[in-house]
Assembly symmetry: C2
Homo-oligomer: 229 residues x 2
């Protein structure tokens, strides 16, 4: 393997910004191609950008800072996807479903990006996580609030519900990514079904006696199922 000739033009004064962006983009490219965080080395990244390894350190303090920047970039992409799904929705419950589907779609479309950002030991600083909390998750939190305000969900604290719904979407996304050989069928249909169940669960939450091992809801469901037949 021959080293790539550094064809890149030198940046104008104070113009390292372009190289910085290129470096982050190169990491994302390598993640996409190799599906393996361990393939990310300073040398590999530098070569991909067309620059020598020490140049990376002009823009990032160390490798961890570089990966933090990549994670922040991934969060921004996730945020954009969920923001778009939110804008497309009309009712709050449908909005939560759309957000969940967009989330899973983003994750499986960018599996290694998702893995680095959300399935990895968090070397990410509080700052990086704040990006997530203030953006992508904020949309979900707001939509849950609207579900409560609209009387769709019981009138309780929206935060745990939002976290539960996030867990539901994350569960589908991360298990599909970690174990792709399991019989998922069509992933979007699977995700829709799983998210639908979680949503239905919250819609009917608190409407049945909860200390009876589901006997009350089961009896009700059985009766209704027979009536529908």
């Amino acid at each position: 393997m021959t080293r790539a000739a550094p064809t890149r033009r030198r940046s104008p004064r104070g113009g390292g910004e372009q190289l910085r962006e290129d470096i982050v983009e190169a990491v994302k490219q390598l993640l996409r191609e190799t599906d393996d965080v361990d393939a990310i080395s300073i040398r590999a990244v530098a070569q991909r950008v067309g620059v020598t390894a020490p140049s990376i350190y002009l823009h990032f303090a160390d490798k961890e800072a570089l990966l933090d920047a990549v994670v922040a970039d991934v969060f921004a992409g996730l945020d954009a996807a969920i923001s778009a799904a939110t804008a497309r929705s009309t009712t709050p419950v449908a909005c939560v479903l759309a957000q969940g589907l967009a989330y899973v779609q983003f994750a499986v479309d960018h599996r290694e990006h998702y893995r680095v950002a959300l399935m990895q030991p968090s070397n990410d600083t509080a700052v990086v996580d704040d990006v997530l909390r203030d953006c992508a998750f904020a949309y979900l939190h707001r939509a849950v609030e609207e579900c409560i305000e609209g009387g769709f969900f019981a009138d309780t604290d929206p935060l745990p519900i939002a976290l539960e719904l996030w867990s539901a979407a994350h569960g589908v996304a991360s298990l599909v990514i970690a174990k792709p050989q399991l019989p998922w069928g069509d992933v979007e249909a699977f995700a829709r079904s799983a998210l639908n169940a979680a949503l239905l669960g919250h819609l009917v939450d608190g409407l049945f006696d909860e200390d009876d091992d589901y006997a009350a809801v089961a009896a009700w469901a059985r009766k209704r199922r027979n009536a529908l037949r």
Copy 2:
């Protein structure tokens, strides 16, 4: 750091079995102590066992084979936890909930073991995954079948439902592990609530018009909520 003196007694003929088990146990110990897969090196494992590095290769073809053995061992532990939860349960729906709680409990009690086994790129061979499918997951699959046979769930294919419930439990477990600083509150209570929602969702699945953006179920729930008030 001085190298540990190899105090270990030589195994009797054909008695490498003991060392093999000790090696797997040492890996699990290191994972527990460091919370970091990258801390697992052949040398570190050998030192922990009290043996030199090449000895490892008498029992495992290479590092990947060693990690596969560890994953299989973790799956066995998970299997035992879920088996115990299953035995404790009386009704099938309560059984699914108990299995899910046991699953999450096991995961957070053995976070790095869980990470290696279920949040990591699967270098595990099909053989290793079969252990999971034939043991831990089989209990869930069976319990879902019983939910259907008992008329608790709609009469459909149990496999996707089991996978969805697995995703729900995995979602809680893996997100709590990956982002422990989020406001989870009591993890068991959180898991119970999330699993409860998924279960409720499947209990009432198919009982409402599904092409109306949840309008039918929402109207029904609102009425019932008012009646209960």
